[in-house]
């Protein structure tokens, strides 16, 4: 094992997959000469050249649809969207084209394409550089949606995503980029569609992903001091999500909190909560509590208050413990 930063784990995943498979290439704004706005492709241009590390004009729609065309002709593109907010400029590409090309053309295609982007606050970058839009994509049939919370996970998940024959929306988190963690020296993947129990517990289940995994773990540490045992389930894949792991955890704890950085309303927590209510309500001893950002754009000056943190998660756990059916 070695200790590397999250963003370096992203780079290693791309580098190793490009070494392994000639058809893998990276395309996006500033990915080549500049090494990526957040440094995810640093050094890759020197290693693979302009053919496989492709700098583009500022044209998210153009290069994302171009990648879709290339994927349908046998290549395996990795598209980098500089900030998740900018993905809104290529929603036609992702929603109308990439997500549907296999299905609407009668399964003639595979669509092995990964669209990477960092989401979330942490830079005080304001309303158009801080959004968490994973639920949009989870709502579109044909896409997979993946979020890694640690260097180990992000590397293994990205490698699995690149090898997957389906389009994957791969969401990184800006505040995690500098985080260090242990990663194996040898090749490995973290399978898509499987959640990871990051901490075992018996009183309350927290279903979460990405940065909120860490906030949930902090909350769990604090709650443990009060004798409350929290289980933290990191979904890792938002769509399709791992019902078995979530249901098994709830069958053990009988209480559920969902936690994500995206606004609470219509977030992925709502889907988890609705499914649990629909299918295993009788397992629950108390109402479900959801954690998410307030229903407002991310505020430049109020960012700290805006993004959910360990205190918000802790309060949610307390709320579900204070109530019962």
């Amino acid at each position: 094992m070695k200790d590397i930063r999250y963003i370096f784990a992203v780079k290693e995943a791309m580098e190793e997959e490009m070494e392994r498979d000639e058809s893998v290439f990276l395309i996006g704004e500033d990915v080549g000469l500049a090494g990526g706005s957040f440094g995810a492709s640093r050094g890759l241009y020197d290693k693979f050249g302009a053919k496989r590390i492709v700098d583009t004009p500022i044209s998210e729609l153009g290069f994302t649809s171009l990648a879709a065309g290339a994927a349908s002709c046998g290549l395996r593109p990795i598209v980098e969207i500089m900030f998740m907010d900018f993905v809104t400029c290529c929603m036609d590409s992702i929603v109308n084209q990439i997500a549907k090309m296999r299905y609407m053309f009668g399964n003639q295609y595979v669509m092995p394409i990964v669209v990477r982007m960092p989401e979330g606050g942490g830079l005080n970058a304001g309303p158009q550089h801080s959004q968490c839009l994973e639920a949009w994509f989870a709502h579109v049939p044909g896409l997979k949606v993946v979020m890694g919370a640690t260097p180990y996970d992000v590397k293994g998940l990205l490698k699995a995503s690149i090898r997957d024959d389906n389009p994957v929306i791969f969401i990184e988190n800006k505040t995690l980029h500098a985080m260090k963690g242990a990663v194996p020296e040898e090749d490995y993947v973290v399978p898509l569609g499987k959640a990871d129990v990051k901490r075992e517990g018996s009183d309350v289940t927290i279903v979460t992903a990405s940065r909120l995994v860490h906030e949930s773990l902090k909350a769990a540490d604090a709650l443990a001091e009060d004798g409350i045992s929290v289980e933290v389930v990191d979904l890792m894949t938002i769509q399709p999500w791992d019902r078995e792991t979530v249901f098994n955890s709830i069958a053990k704890t009988h209480r559920l909190v969902t936690a994500h950085e995206a606004v609470k309303q219509f977030g992925f927590g709502a889907e988890i909560a609705a499914t649990v209510a629909e299918e295993i309500l009788d397992e629950l001893d108390a109402p479900i509590v959801r954690v998410g950002a307030p229903f407002a754009p991310a505020s430049y000056s109020l960012e700290k208050a805006y993004v959910p943190d360990a205190d918000d998660v802790k309060n949610a756990v307390m709320q579900t413990l204070e109530r019962s059916f």
């Binding site: 044209s59 153009g62 046998g74 036609d92 109308n96």
Partner: protein, 319 residues
């Protein structure tokens, strides 16, 4: 550029008639409710797909539009399975999921018609990127109307293709109407080819004449295949019918429609072939008869095919 052979000249006529007669048949089965949704026909614009696709191999790519039957037929799509798709049947190329607006057959390089105006332009550009990446001699063609040149997708794709010298031909079929709006409402210029200057891209404008289109496309495709980069090819034509079949066309006068329908690229070409003594009167009738028989057979095949089952709704949604 070499001139078309006699066999090619005859093939152009056959193909144009095949497109015309197929779409006439589609209008008939659409009006009697046998096919559903929207139907956009390219009647009056048959010369462009035929003149361009004559230079393409099966391994070359074409992305088409909502008005895309002509391109798929000219690229060699099998009419029986195309018709089955238009009828929404399971045997259709797209398992009955696409209908007219998303018809595709990858084996023939038909990447798919697109319901989003301009949506196919960067996708075909991606096919050209893949050809360059893999060092094949494949060429891609993106087809679209002048209305699509208002989309960002058009500019983003042409800009990138010009930077990378991608092997692609951008075929703009300018029929003067963007859905219900005439060109002067949505474009400050009369000639789409002017847009190419922004990308330092060669551009050629031709009329609705299959020979003229064939020759211009020949140069553009050869340029692409030789690695010299993209070309914008504008074909000026007329849309005989409305935006879709059933469009009352209240937005344009009867005289405008009559003027459009007064220009017929097939009739003009027939006169040319007769004058050049390539075909005799009886030959034309025989070709039309053969084409019609093939279309009727395709329709009968499509009618006899079963619809997909609701239980198959999500089959293959994920690979």
């Amino acid at each position: 550029m070499s001139k078309p052979t006699k066999e090619q000249l005859i093939e152009f006529f056959t193909m144009m008639v095949k497109i015309r007669k197929t779409e006439e048949k589609l209008m008939e089965v659409f009006s009697n409710g046998e096919i559903l949704g929207f139907l956009h026909v390219s009647i009056g614009q048959e010369a462009a797909p035929v003149g361009v696709c004559a230079h393409l191999n099966d391994s070359d790519y074409i992305s088409t539009t909502h008005r895309g039957h002509g391109h798929a037929i000219a690229k060699g799509i099998d009419l029986k399975y195309a018709m089955a798709e238009l009828f929404g049947k399971k045997e259709g190329f797209c398992m009955g999921r696409s209908g007219s607006m998303h018809l595709a057959d990858l084996r023939k390089g038909v990447m798919g018609a697109n319901g989003i105006v301009g949506g196919g332009i960067p996708i075909a550009t991606g096919a050209a990127f893949a050809a360059q990446y893999k060092h094949t001699d494949q060429v891609a063609v993106a087809t679209f109307g002048e209305g699509a040149t208002g989309e960002g997708a058009f500019h983003e794709a042409l800009n990138f293709a010009a930077i990378k010298k991608l092997p692609i031909v951008y075929l703009c079929e300018n029929n003067g109407w963007a859905e219900f709006s005439p060109q002067h409402v949505h474009m400050p210029i009369k000639d789409v080819i002017k847009r190419a200057a922004a990308y330092d891209m060669p551009a050629v404008q031709v009329g609705n004449d299959v020979i003229e289109i064939y020759e211009a496309a020949g140069e553009a495709v050869a340029r692409a295949r030789a690695g010299e980069g993209p070309t914008l090819l504008e074909v000026r034509s007329d849309r005989w019918y409305g935006h879709y079949v059933g469009d009352a066309q209240n937005y344009r006068g009867k005289e405008v429609v009559a003027a459009a329908m007064g220009k017929d690229c097939i009739v003009d070409y027939e006169k040319y072939l007769a004058k050049a003594k390539v075909l005799k009167k009886a030959d034309f009738a025989k070709i039309v008869e053969q084409v019609q028989a093939e279309i009727d057979e395709a329709v009968e095949f499509a009618r006899a095919c079963p619809f997909p089952e609701p239980s198959e709704m999500t089959d293959g949604l994920y690979a």
